[in-house]
């Protein structure tokens, strides 16, 4: 199938009227590109005999707008033929399986890959904006998780998003992971991913604000959030950590790293590792219980 792409470039003042007219001509939707003071309204119609008439009607409509007290300049109409493509599938090519750290492989469900016995597979379909494994902060977190997760550890994941880090912790040997997110839309997405990776008996998802919904103490707390959220959270961490418990922090811009390091030291943490990828920094710290 071919589509006629009809673009009307007009004033902001006229854009609502023109958009309405495009819908009345049968457009099923519009893309609105604001290049102020002009606005381009991009609409599509099946490429058939009616398209020429639509364009003529549009030109007539634009000419009539000054009569309604609307300045429609530049009032340009352009027509382009667009070939039908498989828009639903194209995006998949951007998500090949990716190896992160030494052992973890993150792959969308439509790739069927064979792993080595030492490798750990996580299946995760990209979608709404929560960790897909593509972002440096997620990759830094996973690399540090590989070092920090010990067998039978109790882990808390603050700001779990897609659940990727909680799943990784479970697959690396944690016996229990409490995964928390303030955004209630993230929880069902994370739940789906936890089920997909068969770690429902280990990963427990709960909606809530940061550390407040945790109970007991943990061997490891991981927070891949933002520095402004991490800084006030650090002083609260010791009460949720076992002696010699670890803390992984990510989502920190390189320029903010010294501030986070200072806050860690001021609250009894020793920085074990600092890793940088692009402009992002991940930190692994140990809490030294005061004697």
């Amino acid at each position: 199938m071919k589509w006629a792409q009809v673009t009307v470039t007009t004033s902001q003042e006229a854009s609502d009227a023109v958009a309405n007219y495009l819908f009345e001509l049968g457009a099923t939707g519009l893309e609105v590109k604001e290049e102020l003071p002009a606005v381009a309204l991009i609409s599509y119609f099946p490429l058939d005999d009616l398209v020429g008439g639509h364009v003529q009607n549009l030109r007539r409509f634009l000419d009539s707008l000054p009569g309604a007290g609307i300045d429609a300049v530049p009032a340009e109409v352009s027509l382009k033929c667009v070939e039908e493509e498989n828009w639903s599938e194209q995006w998949r090519s951007a998500f090949p399986p990716q190896k992160i750290g030494q052992r973890l492989i993150i792959t969308p469900t439509w790739h069927h890959i064979t792993t080595e016995p030492s490798e750990i597979l996580i299946q995760l379909d990209p979608g709404m904006a929560f960790g897909t494994g593509q972002h440096p902060t997620t990759q830094l977190s996973i690399q540090l998780l590989e070092e920090a997760v010990t067998g039978n550890a109790r882990v808390a994941d603050i700001g779990t998003g897609s659940g990727i880090l909680a799943i990784a912790a479970a697959k690396l040997g944690a016996k229990r992971v409490d995964a928390v997110d303030l955004d209630t839309t993230a929880i069902p997405i994370a739940q789906r991913n936890v089920q997909l990776n068969d770690v429902t008996s280990i990963v427990h998802l709960r909606p809530g604000d940061g550390l407040q919904v945790l109970d007991g103490t943990y061997n490891l707390i991981i927070a891949n959030i933002l520095t402004k959220v991490i800084l006030p959270m650090i002083p609260q961490c010791p009460q949720f950590l076992k002696p010699d418990g670890r803390l992984i922090l990510s989502g920190i811009m390189a320029s903010e790293a010294p501030q986070v390091e200072d806050q860690l030291q001021a609250n009894g943490f020793r920085c074990l590792k600092i890793q940088q990828q692009e402009e992002w920094v991940g930190m692994l710290a140990a809490w030294v219980k005061p004697t």
């Binding site: 609502d16 958009a19 609307i70 904006a129 897909t132 593509q134 992002w280």
Partner: protein
């Protein structure tokens, strides 16, 4: 974490009826985001307003994830609701099909003000009144 924005796509779509066909497919494809996921989420979020045109703003990130928000319906849709009208006039200069009052124009302008590039209620009202006239809707005092 703060993600790098690759692009922002503004669409006007029928609530609950988005498909991968244009404009959704060709406008989102360059950002390589999961289009079926957007369609499913958009249709789920707007299903209560089935068939009503709404504006949605999709933020596409460099890691190919996305978020979207659903804004208020376009001015013309609000005018049709106020005037209880299914369709605008084909010849707005000659054939008048309905009328709305100044308070109705003001109410619509207030609803649309956050989406317009103006903070002046007066200019927003002028734009709404102009759109009304372009649809063959007269504005009574």
């Amino acid at each position: 974490m703060a993600k790098k924005v690759a692009g922002i796509v503004k669409l006007q779509l029928l609530s609950g009826q988005a498909t991968p066909n244009p404009p959704v497919g060709p406008s989102l494809a360059p950002y390589m985001v999961n289009i079926p996921e957007f369609i499913k989420s958009f249709n789920a979020r707007t299903q209560d307003q089935q068939g009503l045109i709404v504006t949605t703003v999709v933020t596409c990130y460099a890691d190919r994830s996305f978020t979207f928000e659903v804004k208020s319906p376009p001015t013309a849709v609000l005018l049709k609701q106020a005037a209880k009208l299914a369709k605008g006039s084909g010849e707005p200069n000659r054939t008048k099909v309905a009328s709305v009052t100044q308070p109705q124009i003001q109410e619509i302008a207030q609803t649309k003000l956050p989406d317009l590039n103006t903070t002046s209620l007066e200019s927003a009202m002028r734009m709404v009144a102009g759109t009304a006239r372009s649809m063959g809707i007269t504005v009574s005092e």
